[in-house]
Assembly symmetry: C2
């Protein structure tokens, strides 16, 4: 369902000027984990909504995630050659097209959610759009990426590490969850609980990601293992060590599940996702 919907958001590769559409499709349709959109759909289901109505928003958060990967990989930023086991966008299409494809995906996210969402009051779609814009920009990712960059090679205090992760990764994950809840018609109490769940799941994900960068097998995670270490990036393991980091990730996942205690079986996919996030191997 999700991959078909993503595919439908993207113009065909043979439309002029082909290279931008090829670049957009190359990065979006390459078998990512789809964590954020899956959280959106699961959160919609958890409040009793039809996941179909949350599908455009789910696509939007995945498009934004993909945009951020393309730009983060650029030579001026992380300068990464591999992503999900394949050459990064700028390696394949050149820097200019990678920059423009990222820009286009960011804009497309807002087009997708505003144009394709059906069967939801317009004020709810507006609220979801506003939250996604904030998480993608100065209310999240843009700020986190800057802190990541200016912290490279420096000793940073735990508060700065947390600020960086919350902004760079956490807020879009949390917003993906909350968006699903809003589109599914959740009550304010449910949205509050989903927001807490999303915050904890985002934290668990980031710690797990830091651990994988050290312990993962290159083949499985599809990027260069140990790249954070080489770049002297601040990570949870570098601050707390591996064992303590694993404990923190599990604790965050437990707290995420605890936040869902008032939900019935329809929140089981969200509960399972919290477990998956800390147990994943790639």
């Amino acid at each position: 369902m999700l991959d078909t919907a993503l595919e439908e958001c993207l113009p065909p590769e043979d439309r002029f000027p082909e290279v931008i559409f090829r670049a957009m499709r190359y990065s979006v349709l390459n078998g990512g984990k789809r964590l954020r959109p899956v959280l959106t759909l699961a959160a919609c289901e958890a409040v009793g909504g039809d996941p179909e109505v949350a599908l455009p928003a789910a696509c939007a958060v995945e498009l934004i995630h993909t945009f951020s990967l393309i730009h983060d990989d650029l030579p001026a930023l992380d300068n990464d050659d591999l992503r999900r086991g394949k050459p990064t966008s700028h390696k394949v299409f050149g820097e200019a097209i990678a920059i423009l494809a990222g820009d286009a995906l960011l804009a497309l996210a807002f087009e997708a959610v505003t144009k394709r969402t059906k069967g939801v009051p317009p004020e709810v779609v507006l609220e979801v759009t506003r939250r996604i814009a904030s998480a993608a920009g100065i209310g999240g990712m843009a700020v986190g990426q800057v802190v990541d960059m200016i912290s490279e090679g420096k000793q940073i205090p735990p508060e700065t590490l947390e600020f960086m992760h919350t902004n760079k990764t956490g807020l879009l994950i949390q917003t993906s969850v909350v968006a699903g809840g809003l589109l599914g018609g959740g009550t304010p109490e449910q949205i509050g609980a989903l927001s807490r769940y999303g915050q904890k799941v985002g934290l668990a994900f980031q710690i797990a990601d830091d651990i994988l960068d050290i312990e993962g097998e290159q083949e499985r995670i599809g990027k260069t293992v140990g790249s954070d270490l080489r770049k002297q990036k601040a990570t949870y393991p570098s601050l707390y060590g591996i064992e303590k980091s694993k404990e923190l990730a599990r604790l965050a996942a437990d707290e995420a599940i605890e936040a869902l205690r008032a939900f019935d079986h329809r929140a089981d996919p969200l509960r399972a996702l919290a477990c998956f996030i800390v147990e994943r191997q790639a």
Copy 2:
């Protein structure tokens, strides 16, 4: 009114991490012509609306315009050192921050229009947001920029030149006009007329811009005169010559004004803007 509103959209420079907010403010608050937002406010007025309701959308189109300038100036794209008489963003803040500041401005545009627009039905705000997203992305700017890039140093047919300009510049200008009309509560006929006006004004602007690149004084236009020529960019003067280009610009402005014939005196600012666009010296 407009500059205050833009200022209010942007976080203060002393918020952490300061460099991104400094970079965003540097490029937005530097005395641009504000053509797009002025068109939005004037179009709102032309249909009898209160320009105040169109102010967030006006800010959004200017933020998007600024984002596009920052990214277009990057070394991987046009590699320009000067913009509006000042060093370009990447010259001042470095490439990484310039990329991220552009990204943040694009996202901020959608946050501004969805969060700050008041006194307009939410479905209208959604429609405006959708149109802006399209014009900023694959329905406009992203595509035009790619064609501009891949056409450098090549002889291109007039259709491709027009396609490039329509997408790169024209559609955001047209959308700026239509957004104002929609937010002001224009009738479908009025929106149709504004759309024609916006299309012609966008064309006139682009031709005039091409002419200025050749005839303007460097000091006045604030970028390097003749830079299109040096980069062997396809332009109206390179295809049609200066005199014929001037005629085409005047014709487009006349057609823009003609599209407003059913409007009363409240469309006078729009009429004046069409004249200004072809007569401007910078």
